[in-house]
Symmetry: none
DNA sequence: TATGAATGAGTCTTCATTCAT
DNA sequence: CATGAATGAAGACTCATTCAT
């Protein structure tokens, strides 16, 4: 059922639509969730989990650090492009007071592996010294920017263009000698 | 009157509050604007204009290109931090269907000078070859990320830290040899 | 508009019915009252006021204390019988949490003249020594009992019967030698 | 199970709570009762029965009529004070349409002994001539008044004060010569 | 031009009741 | 007999917008 609501997307959609889309009665939804807020929070966590698990796909630890960085970046980019509603949902939810701090904290746990990946990068002198939260948010923001332009149709994202963006992203955090 | 509404912030606030805050009657507002949507669009444009005019503050054309880049970046960052509601308004509005494509297009005009600044950067071999829309959005995204972390209190933005971020931003678009 | 709602009676009736009965839109009602609770409280106060003003009708200060007692008793009894919905409303409202303590306190002010009447009765040795609140509630309860039996049709309240009840009520508080 | 619901009190409580409190499933309850209305009616009858059986406690037929009157009065008063929820339930239920006339009639049967007690009182010239229904309701109302003031804390009911109230109640129906 | 009371469709949520298991 | 997920009409309340003054 959660997934149905995800497809419906957007926290701005009224419960009445969620009800129609989900194919169950209003009461049924409230039998499982205490409130709209709870649904949204649950959804948020589910998505974050899925985002998190997507990140490490096909990341070959035997390849170079930079290659792994590119793979992770691409993973998130591809996932967002293929799951447009999920992306928009995540974007909207960031600017909405419905998500409790607790939920946000829980959600961040799913990104821990990437944070660690960045920490390792710094330790291995691959990445520059920088606050980890700052670094990860910067990269995440880059992905979001790329996805937005792609999905909005404002930019046709060729493979070359994508490589350029990821390279930009890499350059912004890589250690320069 | 517009400014009052800006301070009120957020498109999520009901008209009734706008009415109270503005000190005029509901009818009066609808005498000047056709709908809430029109108000929001007008607001959006006003803000974009202000953002745009802020960008070129204290930019000394006699300094190096990189210095100018830093100044522009800082201008936007400072403006957002000092005008928190305006920032949040702009953020929310980005993910809301109320802003018409036309308005968005108009809004982008105010960023033309920066786009041009970037175009010059590429022409002068200071910046790498990259789609201008992509480049500007990437940089804008960096600013937004920095502002978000600052305003949310998740990161204490020291001067050093800020310089690092801008440097990152610069590295992501600068020409590397 | 208040009166319309009074006629509708009963706090148990849904707002939707109040809306229909009153002939105005839901929004209009909420333009004047903050909530259903506020309406009920306002109503309660209005009724108490009316009850209070009814009590002193035709009370001739030149007649004997007992005669005045009978007149006051009859006034309340008649008023309740003639305003059935008001009576039922008052009865229900007593057992409902919607009335705030403040409102109750305010409402009691309208009964002050009667309280004073009882106080005088005690001072003049017409009534026995008894807590004033207790005494007034006892008498009020007697009236309510009589009204209930009358309105429910369980008892045909002849003039004689009514005189007997009032006499009972009088005997319960009168000074016995 | 009924008793659990009694403790829960109040007909205003939703079935969902009744379900939780009772420890059985919703379906199970509706397996035994046709509707909430039926439960409430059953409850009402149970309470009336208990009230009725309480009345004759410790009533010594060898004592004077007045003494027995005082004992019965006290019995009801004490029972209500000790079973606050039952009292409030009974009060609320009186002003609610859920109780069918049939149920009310059945409930009154439990008060028959007291009615008879009053009838005897009249026959023995202890009580004045008065409709029995009227008399019993008057006395019952006195008890309710006393209980209400006690439970609400509006009056501290000392033993002396209580005796005064019962005396009042007695005087209102006793034969005066 | 300015007002603000009036609108009513729409919001989230509740709850007595049913029915497949 | 028992379960509890499912129902959906109804509840109180909101809010962008209109219109008579």
């Amino acid at each position: 059922m959660l997934d149905l609501v995800v497809k419906q997307g957007i926290q701005a959609t009224p419960m009445s639509q969620v009800v129609k889309q989900s194919g169950v009665a209003a009461g049924t939804i409230y039998h499982h969730f205490a409130s709209k807020e709870e649904i949204i929070n649950e959804l948020y966590l589910n998505l974050k989990k899925e985002f998190g698990s997507t990140l490490s796909n096909q990341v070959d630890l035997n390849t170079s650090y930079k290659t792994q960085f590119f793979q992770i970046w691409t993973n998130l980019y591809d996932y967002f492009c293929e799951n447009e509603t999920a992306f928009h949902f995540a974007e909207q939810i960031g600017h909405c007071t419905m998500i409790t701090p607790e939920t946000k904290q829980k959600g961040e746990l799913y990104y821990l592996p990437v944070i660690e990946f960045f920490a390792n990068g710094i330790a291995q002198n691959q990445l520059r010294e920088m606050d980890l939260k700052l670094m990860s948010n910067l990269i995440y923001g880059n992905v979001v920017t790329a996805v937005q332009l792609t999905l909005s149709g404002e930019l046709i994202m060729t493979k070359d263009r994508l490589q350029t963006v990821i390279q930009s992203s890499w350059d912004s955090v890589a250690k320069h000698n």
